[in-house]
């Protein structure tokens, strides 16, 4: 049995005793005022009271004593009740304070746990996001490097092709210039006599083709 349960049982017992005392006091007050104010009892006493044969002074003194004792008991009970109530109130306050502290502590712990979980989740998410960002950056770097290599290779190829085209154009122009020069310089004073051997050698070399050409014409 924990202290808390003991405290609860003691509070319940106090409340029970206070209830008993309150009910006894109320009943006593009720009977007292009922006998005193009842007109029937005052007008028609069907039987004599017990102390009817007592002298009035004694009876008066007894009544006063009884009232004083009753008041004393009542006061004592009220004081006891008040004392108990104070104790109960104090204990209740302590209990409430402790419960409040526990609840606040529990809630704070839960809050801290939630915060911690949230922080861990956030950290995990952040770590994941950072990982993804790093991965994405790596991918981008790889792609950029690859693309850069492709562009460089393409540029080199383009430059090479352009260079080849330009060289070819220059060669063509050069060849044209040389041929024009030769044509212009060699077409004057042509000596056919010196070419007769070459002409005959060409005819001998292509004799069969020439024969075929003449035969086709025929």
């Amino acid at each position: 049995m924990t202290g808390e349960q003991i405290l609860q049982y003691s509070i319940l017992a106090d409340i029970f005793f206070m209830g008993v005392l309150v009910s006894v006091a109320i009943r006593h007050l009720y009977l007292h005022f009922k006998h005193k104010n009842d007109p029937i009892e005052v007008a028609k006493p069907h039987e004599k009271p017990q102390g009817a044969h007592l002298p009035p002074a004694v009876r008066e003194r007894m009544i006063e004593k009884s009232e004083a004792e009753f008041e004393s008991v009542l006061n004592k009970s009220a004081e006891q009740l008040q004392h108990d109530l104070q104790i109960t109130t104090g204990q209740l306050n302590k209990k409430l304070e402790r419960l409040g502290s526990e609840i606040i502590g529990t809630e704070m712990r839960r809050y801290h746990l939630d915060i911690e979980k949230l922080r861990e989740t956030t950290e995990t998410a952040m770590t994941g996001a950072q990982s993804q960002i790093s991965q994405h950056q790596e991918d981008l770097k790889t792609k950029m490097a690859k693309r850069q290599e492709e562009l460089e290779a393409q540029m080199v190829e383009n430059v090479k092709a352009e260079q080849e085209v330009m060289i070819k154009n220059i060669d063509t122009k050069l060849a044209d210039a040389v041929i024009s020069f030769l044509t212009e310089t060699m077409q004057h004073d042509i000596d056919l006599g010196s070419q007769s051997k070459y002409l005959i050698s060409m005819l001998n070399e292509h004799k069969d083709e020439l024969k075929k050409g003449v035969a086709d014409e025929a």
């Binding site: 220059i170 060669d171 063509t172 050069l174 060849a175 044209d176 040389v178 041929i179 030769l182 044509t183 060699m186 077409q187 004057h188 042509i190 000596d191 056919l192 006599g193 070419q195 007769s196 070459y198 002409l199 005959i200 060409m202 005819l203 001998n204 292509h206 004799k207 083709e209 020439l210 024969k211 075929k212 050409g213 003449v214 086709d216 014409e217 025929a218």
Partner: protein, 157 residues
């Protein structure tokens, strides 16, 4: 009738000239014979003959006895003989014509006719056209064929 064409006769145009000359000679000969029958003293000179005609008559003495038949043979030869066209870098000289005609009639066809043309841009060599066949053995073609080697040769200079 089979004729031996002299080397100085190249083309159909030459044959046409010979035919005209022979016809002229034939007319003169007929006229001469008539006059000779009428009068015993005929002093008219025969028309002048070109060296080509002389060569032709000299190389074909037997065939020359019948002039009309010779004329017909030449006409037929002009129309039917195989013909080629040779383009040289300069106007063909007699020597070149003779050399080429001799070779062609010896190696290709004995009655072949050759038309000569010239084109200075050939620079040398010749272009032979036989029907639809063209054989370009000119210096110009050789230079153009080797134009790709010029830059390399110049770079090596």
């Amino acid at each position: 009738m089979k004729l031996n064409l002299p080397s100085v006769i190249s083309s159909g145009q030459d044959l046409g000239g010979l035919v005209l000359e022979l016809r002229e000679y034939s007319r003169w000969l007929n006229h001469y014979n008539i006059l000779k029958k009428v009068s015993s003293s005929v002093s008219e000179e025969p028309p002048a003959m070109s060296p080509a005609l002389k060569d032709l008559l000299r190389e074909n003495k037997k065939e020359s006895e019948n002039i009309e038949e010779l004329i017909n043979t030449l006409d037929k030869l002009k129309d039917d003989a195989p013909t080629i066209t040779v383009t040289l870098a300069a106007p063909a000289t007699k020597d070149i014509k003779r050399i080429l005609n001799d070779w062609l009639r010896k190696n290709i066809a004995s009655n072949i006719l050759v038309n000569y043309q010239f084109n200075a841009t050939l620079l040398g060599g010749m272009v032979v056209r036989a029907g639809s066949h063209i054989f370009d053995w000119s210096y110009r073609r050789q230079i153009l064929a080797g134009r790709d080697k010029f830059p390399e040769v110049l770079r090596n200079v």
